[in-house]
Symmetry: none
Subunit: 215 residues, 4 copies
DNA sequence: CATGAATGAGTTTTCATTCAT
DNA sequence: CATGAATGAAAACTCATTCAT
């Protein structure tokens, strides 16, 4: 029993090691330009070994996305279950949680959109696909739940909570992607810290039922 | 002179024809899965011909992006130069302009993020790269200008106008990408019309100096 | 019209050129050990070019088999439609036809058995698969038809004509394969000419109606 | 001595266990598509262990062939040494023996032709190669011996006994392979029992001395 | 200008074999 | 002896790009 468990844990460690290497490579090169050999080299393993832990390049990739999705769900789940003095505080915590997610894996969001091309999705194993869908839905529902509460208690404007959650997610992804792009092309100063703050502040202000008493 | 001009116009027509074909292909397949042969077939030309008008696949691709960027600048430029009864109306016109852009080429925004990977950018000719940067900057500055005005006249909150423009752009791109993703994975109902409206409404509300008198 | 036809013929010539090169390689190395690069080199082409004419290694391979099957059908068809003095002469002509087939492509019969593993068949395009089945069935039916005639006119023993055709085909393939094997391992002297003759003579004798006086 | 012997017997048991597993795998998949891991799994051993008993995949494979060859020699040897009422009965017993061989390992005959490609043979150890050749020759000679007797006693036609043995073997292998192929492609009804009977009946009839009265 | 056949470097993936435990 | 994780060489296949016609 103990021995089987240990093996399983070692296996999991190796998977993590590969995923971290993959993350590093994808951070530099974008999915299509990153080769399995690059990742193997980064992980100090041989190409063949990668296939002992991931069925294909696509599946390795999807696993990276799952990793972030799981992290998102944990973080957002905490915000929902934790008690906060005010609804505003809870909302602020949600924003902070997303910032955590960004710190955890800044680039994967960029790449997640790659995942969602039908061509790529078709090649994934059904289990992986299901888990991705489940986690995505769960994350969205949790956030939507917070907005439902806010609407019910009259703290925020009365709009379709799912639409609000969609926009929350779109805003977050948009900011990450756009700031990342700005680092590449030279459009305006790259300062994600500030942009995040302003973006979320704006979003919260937009949600408020009646404007702030006085600024 | 006349003959040279005509030649030049014919050449431009051909370029457009290819770009429209490319747009159709990229809409279905994402950049890396689209082959030059796909595009040639769609344009009813031979692969070799494509290279008479575009130096490489990357350049063809970048030209498509340029096309949208130019369209954006025209549309946004109009909003800025046109007179509107109120600042709110002007702002609403800006949102409508972005909706136009989305109609013009829904997917290219998705793909534009592909362009901005350093690997891809490196391969572009400096002129193209410069033009992309110029147009991007110009678009951003124009939008930022509108916000500067709004701030100056006290119509909107006093925040860094560039940051506001960034967020505006990020929100727009985020909504497009996320709604597109939802069409692929099955997370929530795909309804870009509504999401756009709610998103821009929220953004505008967030910008308002003092909340609406009463709802 | 003429130009399209010429192109088509050139294409066909190229296909033949590749198939002949492939035949040479398969003759030396057996299917699994022969690489597409070997074939390309033999055909003095690049590996990529092979894929312009054949979808995959399996399809190139299957096309080789088709080639022999078509040849068999032509040869056997001639025997059936031609008039012969006696039934024995017709039967002898059938045997001779099979010898022709052997000369046309001695090794492919060996390889044809490789084709018929379910794993390989699964990967073929349905059209190719259908044609292989059709030609195989047709060849068998034609031979069976000759036996049906022989039985009807009382020239040969009354057995299921399809079974007889099966055995005829099995004997032919068996002789080819076994003689080929003997060339590799050193079991007995390799002399296909004689073995063919004795084999077919035996087969014909076995078929004759009037057997030994009493059974 | 006793302990060494026991060890040796245990070793032999293990070898057999692996070979039986290999046979099962090769029956389903053909040589090149069967992996050592497949075989290891079937034998409930680890891949590494296989190499403690067989130098390579080729040698494991060749050992399987040896196994059938030995079985053939035993069966055919019995027929030769046993007494039968008539020569016809002896011949019938030979046919029955081959049917036994087919039951013992239906597919390996199919695969034996794989073995006899020069590429594969080159990689085998000389001892193994020699044993294969010896057993093959022995089997052939034994069968040929029966025909020599038949010729000498005037029971069968006077042809080169080695050629007759070759044809006997070719007919047997041909029937097995062709019936196996028919199970894959859909040419005619798969019925090996009947085909075997008709084939051997035809062969025996063909061998009979007294042919038709006059030709 | 236009063509499209040919190229060949580059990618993913497989699997027989080894070797540290 | 047995293990099984790791190896890495080799294979099939793709596709942006070129160039003779």
């Amino acid at each position: 029993m103990g021995i089987k468990e240990r093996k399983e844990r070692e296996r999991e460690t190796r998977r993590q090691q590969i995923m971290i290497a993959a993350k590093r490579v994808f951070t530099e090169k974008e999915f299509e330009k990153s080769t399995m050999e690059d990742i193997a080299k980064e992980a100090e393993l041989s190409p063949g070994t990668l296939y002992l832990y991931f069925k294909s390049k696509d599946e390795l990739y999807a696993s990276l996305c799952l990793r972030v999705l799981r992290y998102i769900n944990i973080k957002v789940g905490h915000v929902v279950s934790d008690a906060y003095e005010t609804y505003e505080a809870k909302q602020a915590a949600l924003m902070a949680a997303m910032h955590d997610v960004y710190d955890y894996d800044p680039l994967i969001l960029n790449n997640m959109f790659h995942l969602q091309s039908s061509e790529t999705l078709k090649a994934l194993s059904p289990e992986l696909l299901d888990e991705i869908n489940d986690l995505s839905r769960q994350a969205l529902r949790t956030v939507a739940g917070m907005f439902t509460d806010g609407i019910a208690t009259g703290r925020i404007i009365d709009r379709n909570p799912i639409a609000l959650a969609d926009i929350f997610w779109a805003l977050f992804s948009g900011v990450v992607l756009w700031e990342e792009s700005k680092r590449m092309i030279n459009v305006s100063r790259f300062n994600i810290q500030e942009t995040f703050e302003v973006a979320f502040d704006l979003f919260q202000r937009g949600l408020r039922r009646s404007g702030p008493p006085a600024e």
